[in-house]
Amino acid sequence: MSIYLPIGPQHPVHPEAVQLKLKVEGEEVVDADVDVSFVHRGIEKVLETKTYVQGLFLAERICGICNVAHTTCYAINVERLAGVEVPRRALHLRLVVEELARMHSHMLWLSLLAHVIGFDSLFMLAQRDRELVLDLMEEITGGRVITSYNVIGGVRRNVDAALAQKIISTLDGLRKRVLEYKRLLGEDAILRARTEDVGYLSSSKAVELSAVGPVARASGVPYDVRECDPYLIHDEVPFNVVVYNTCDVWGRAMVRIDEVLESIEMIRYALERLPEGDVRAKVPLLIKPPPGESVARVEAPRGELIHYVRSDGSEKPVRYKVRTPTLANLAALVEMLKTGRKDRPVYVADVPVIFASIDPCICCAARVLLIDEKRGSVKEVGMDEVVRGE
């Protein structure tokens, strides 16, 4: 992901501080633009100066939240380029950590959505439950957030039977809590009022703008890289592509919650059928892939993540390109901010919720520029201030 506002980094993908420029008339938003330059770190250029192994650690930090998606994609890409075959046990373990990362990311998202709506108890509860997932990640990989679990050729650490059992039983307990959140979203009047029919993105627009991830899937587009372009053992593991047709923030929330439940089942499957064998293939210390190019894609929590690499036979890439899902959804975000439904325009108060609904990979530092043409004023405020209604 890039690392840009919700767009990244060079990664124009995940920026942290992002600036939304909204044209408003009173309380209604009539036009929108986004400035995503605040988090640009020039990562793609730096990747050209690092070896393939060093690059793995840099790619990992394109986004701390989706670091597992990035290392999975990067490792797969370099392995394809260099002709490295990964042992099956490692594929299972990669899936386990990938799905745990998806869970923690979606739960983080849920807590932030709650915070943006002002539902702080749900924020705290989701954070507390998310800690359970982070504990599991730490036991498996040694890291709570940035895991450095994937290496070129496999994974860094093994999981024994006792740990596998612990993972499954912890997730069984977590499952009940997640079902509670799902019920809340379905029944709580305030949650529904703030999310239903908000941030409208029609199915045809989602296709036209090449939206990805939960944003696309909540608008009826069943695109999930794990199903369309399977990697790891996704062609074996049974799972559902979660699709809702409501085209709104509520739909996106439901997609993510259902995906957490799907992830739990996928992890169970992968652990119950963990094959014997090594967890990493032998690769040379200095990897020099033959000249060529490769494209790798994974389904990051935010949507399709695509990496492209070009090698000239040396130990450093000629070009390493990363397109993160948040950048892919930027056009959809602008569309959502500009276009309400016939009977329900986009209000300024909806903006933080809509913005949050694409799961931008930036948390709290968004700045919003409010341009009121009628009154002729331009105000720069923090997203938090918009949330509190100032």
Binding site: P12, S37, H40, E44, K45, Y223, V295, R319, A331
Partner: protein
């Protein structure tokens, strides 16, 4: 599962692109499961992309700009199941190519990025302007060009 069905196989993609482009298809290969790489000259880039759209590919993943040493390359990555990379060769002394924003609106941000980082002009793009670089960045300096040295624009 409608809306994302791309009913063509990798072989069929190659076949239909050969029909659409003939001699202009400089290179075409299947690079693995669900991976097709084709190379065209700059003049036929749009034709190739439009041909893919007409085959049923309604999704653009990304547009990559590359400084390949003796020339630039623009690569459009199209498709959800099969990922087709359409690579166009762009001469360095005349760095421009047709925009595909009207074919795939998602190219709007991707072409901006390639322009900003490599200085390739996308003809027909409605808004080629600063996207990721800081406001203080001097115009005409393109960081992903091989000749650019880190920090050199600060003088």
């Amino acid at each position: 599962m409608s809306g994302i069905e791309e009913p063509v196989s990798e072989e069929e993609v190659l076949q239909r692109l050969k029909e659409a482009l003939g001699e202009a298809l400089l290179d075409a290969r299947i690079a693995g499961k669900r991976r097709v790489f084709v190379t065209v000259d700059r003049e036929h880039y749009r034709t190739a992309v439009v041909a893919l759209k007409e085959m049923g590919f309604d999704f653009l993943s990304a547009v990559t700009g590359v400084d390949a040493g003796d020339r630039f390359e623009v690569i459009a990555h199209v498709g959800r199941r099969v990922s087709v990379a359409v690579k166009a060769l762009v001469p360095k002394d005349d760095a421009r190519i047709a925009s595909i924003v009207d074919v795939y609106p998602a190219a709007f941000f991707y072409e901006r990025e390639a322009w900003e980082m490599l200085g390739i002009h996308f003809e027909g793009h409605p808004k080629l302007e600063r996207t990721f670089l800081p406001e203080s960045w001097p115009p005409g300096v393109y960081p992903l060009r091989k000749e650019y040295r880190q920090g050199s624009e600060r003088g």
